[in-house]
Symmetry: C2
Subunit: 534 residues, 2 copies
């Protein structure tokens, strides 16, 4: 694994490939990227990492380490800021210890040591947070004696499968591929495929409202969660397996989105699916974004529930090799383990057609086992989607600024929001970088509104990248807040989004959450600074 960038180190492109990338980017950003050139990635021997402030406690020595490489590998998530600092070899924020528990007893031992010694504990899954959710940075005034990163990946088993109710009990440290491989042995799949799928973990998904594969209906991991089990400094918090309940405010709901501040999620019963047998898909091209948005809104309100309903604006379509003719493209897909889907797709295409969407390659209907048809635009999209985080790391090595932000709003506000975001971010790109690219897609859609997702790319000035980036990020987030959109639909809050999250939530909810945390984590050792001040 790369200690500073995304994913596997051997997938990082060589200097020649990155030189080509720099040329492409220069062309795309209109020459503003003149200075871009591949720099060598850092070497682990040369990084800055402070001395650990904690000794490994003898009782925990079997699974706790103070080794520098371990600490470096648990310092950051994978946000743009993290990549830039990591590329520069700056690991000043490293945790003092890293724990690799393999059981709940070992987790309890860590919590208990930490509570006794005023040490902060940061639950760590795949380390793919893009919002500073796993960085040991607690803000001024915090007086912890040190920090332990609690890596949950040793708890990675599917423990039990209930084929009748279609549910599985899964340990929180299981990664996407790990849990899918185990579920496949039982003929099931969770079908939760965030962009971080390869590395992120079930516990991380639950803790952050991860957004997944389904563009409608089961959009967040929340919708797939039947019950949870969490260890807190005050003891075990476990909810009952139920399809639904009307008994008081939902105990699961306090855990979903809790970002490691209330306890350590150790396992969950998850709703799983049979593997889809039928698929129906199409890509629809629009000349005007407004018409495309109107079509998507009507489809989202029609009760058809497509699994894929991703609208790419013309730039996204271009960058992801889905269309090169200036079209905005809607990727539509239905899937089912139960029935063929022609009527569903036909109706969605009729709606799109009424909004002047055209479907140049026609619809594709496929059945498992039958000869696979061309995957077309959806296939291009999927491979570009999974490569994007690797691409971001490569671009960082060129000195580029590249990041994404996402939100959700009601449909009535989208036009004004999108115009304002575009104006504010393009203006900030010019001011900070002399220009750059902004693109937009919808990752998920609801009857009452879309979840727009933005990507920006520009050329950075060596050494000034974080400052330039902060200027653009602030312009974006301030605009979201001013338009009543949320600061995050599925990236979470972490440490990065705190200022805007604090303005978004009701102050009395913040007070109630603070009171709940004081009950579950009375010494305030869990992930300080995330969601609440230490």
């Amino acid at each position: 694994m790369s200690f500073w960038g995304w994913g596997w180190a051997d997938k990082f492109p060589d200097a020649e490939a990155r030189r080509l990338l720099a040329q492409q980017l220069g062309a795309l950003t209109g020459g503003a990227g003149l200075a871009l050139a591949p720099r060598d990635p850092p070497s682990l021997d040369a990084v800055t990492v402070p001395r650990s402030r904690l000794e490994v406690p003898p009782a925990l020595a079997g699974f706790v380490s103070a080794r520098a490489d371990e600490r470096v590998g648990h310092t950051y998530g994978k946000s743009f800021r993290d990549l830039v600092r990591g590329f520069a070899g700056d690991f000043e924020a490293a945790p003092d210890l890293v724990a690799h528990p393999k059981s709940e007893d070992e987790i309890e031992a860590v919590l208990s040591f930490a509570a006794d010694h005023n040490v902060a504990v940061i639950p760590f899954g795949g380390g793919t947070s893009v919002v500073g959710g796993v960085e040991p940075a607690f803000g001024k005034g915090a007086t912890y004696r040190g920090a332990i990163s609690l890596d949950l990946r040793g708890l990675d088993r599917v423990l039990e499968v209930d084929p009748v109710s279609r549910a599985a009990r899964i340990q929180a440290g299981a990664t996407g591929p790990g849990l899918e491989a185990q579920l496949a042995q039982h003929g099931f799949t969770l079908r939760h495929f965030p962009q971080s799928f390869e590395f992120s973990t079930l516990g991380g998904w639950i803790a952050t409202h991860a957004g997944g594969h389904f563009a409608t209906l089961y959009t967040h991991i929340d919708d797939l969660t039947e019950s949870v089990r969490m260890l807190t400094p005050s003891g075990l918090y476990e909810t009952r397996r139920l399809p639904a309940s009307g008994a008081g405010p939902g105990p699961d709901r306090l855990v979903l989105g809790s970002e490691g501040i209330l306890g350590v999620i150790t396992e969950a019963w998850m709703r799983v699916h049979a593997r889809p047998r039928w698929r129906a898909s199409a890509s629809v091209h629009f000349r005007e974004l407004k018409a495309a948005v109107a079509a998507v809104r009507e489809i989202a309100q029609a009760g058809l529930y497509p699994a894929n309903c991703r609208l790419l604006d013309q730039r996204e379509a271009l960058l992801n090799r889905v269309a090169a003719d200036g079209s905005h493209v809607l990727l539509l897909g239905f899937e089912s383990a139960d029935h063929p889907l022609a009527p569903w797709l036909e109706r969605a295409l009729a709606i799109a057609g009424a909004h002047r969407g055209i479907c140049p390659r026609g619809p594709v209907l496929r059945e498992e086992g039958a000869k696979s048809g061309h995957e077309g635009a959806a296939g291009s999209w999927r491979s570009a989607f999974l490569e994007a985080p690797y691409l971001q790391s490569a671009l960082v090595s060129l000195g580029a600024l590249v990041d994404t932000f996402e939100t959700a709003c009601t449909w009535d506000r989208f036009d004004a929001l999108h115009a304002a975001v575009t104006a504010a971010v393009e203006d900030a790109l010019v001011r900070a970088c002399g220009g750059g690219l902004l693109s937009c897609r919808f990752t998920h859609v609801y009857p009452d509104g879309p979840a727009p997702y933005y990507t920006f790319v520009a050329a950075g000035r060596p050494g000034a990248e974080l400052e330039q980036w902060a200027q653009i990020k602030r312009a974006a987030a301030d605009t979201l807040a001013a338009h009543g959109a949320t600061i995050t639909h599925h990236h979470a809050v972490g440490r990065l989004h705190r200022p805007w999250y604090d303005r978004e939530r009701p102050p009395l909810f913040a007070a109630a959450l603070r009171a709940a945390k004081a009950t579950l984590d009375p010494k305030g050792i869990l992930n300080p600074g995330v969601l609440l001040d230490p």
Copy 2:
């Protein structure tokens, strides 16, 4: 309105009609109902209501009353216990004052008076709680100087409609018919039709996780709630209008199911629907309950999302005039404002057919405006459904024991749960009443489990009805708890379900909720005894 029974007083049947009912019930309960005979309903002049312990505060005199009839009308909900005590003229539990605010300022004035004078406040919507949710009974050790029932029905307007996002801002005191009539002027409908629809209010629905019309997908009012506004003793708690958000634990989720203990819900943005234009329905008969359950499970897991998917066991089918031949009947219905539904219904019927379900009258496909086809079993069911609460009041006047209880469980547990509930309740009916009837239906179904709903009827011994009833209720609730089912899917907790709710929720969630309440309601004046001890 009846001051002791369900709904409109003039819908209470006369003595002759009730004599006929007694005969029918005698036949159904196998002669165990020998003693049943119509008794005269109580008169308001003759009821027992204690002196009010509070004077009307001069500042609140415009909308607060201490009149006996007002206090009587706000003493109980509509549970079996409430009806029996009301029929006996026992209103010992009456609140001391009743407030009819017409604005948030007036609600704040009540909260502020109550906090200053150690007076309990009970938010009151339609007064249709079947779990003791609105009764001023606070348990031993409570030291309130009195209780105010806060009737929200003066806040009954649809304030704003957003036709683009399909959402409406609605005041919490609006009743089902009241808000539907206002929404209809804009071409929309909320389509939330609990059995209490005629009288219950939006705020009550939100506070209790009310279960509605949709048998799948949008089963609870939670799923239709976009944002909420709540006045607490600590100030205003208002969430942002969003289709979804990933920013921390959901602030709406603390309000949904809060049963009046955290604040007074004053309004909410609700997701509304276009009026359905196409409908497709069928009633499917099964000889074996097991086969019917298997069919429903497969339909619930197929991704078809029927609006109606109610399975009536043979007794429910008989009592509700849906089938008299001993069949178990599945009422299936799809509805859409967007598209015809033949493919959806065909697939659901194919699943049912594979489980040996037959459809004697065939499917019914209807389009709005077209000549309405026969409504068949679904029509019989709907009218019986809406009459049931009136019937319960009439039966109470005969000295019958009649009540319902409901739950939800995962599919793998249903067979054992159902067998155990049947055995335990039938045994309790014999021991308490010498016999009686128990029937079951599924009101809502999920991919991972059903929501079974039970009705029991027996003949009571005059004066001993509450004791007999408690014996049966306890047998039912203990069995649910022993099988890991929830104490309520949509009736809520109130005061009636507290013992089982306390065993069901994680103890640390109870502690967190207590801490949240101490923040929002520091003097503990709101609905004491519900969800938490005073």
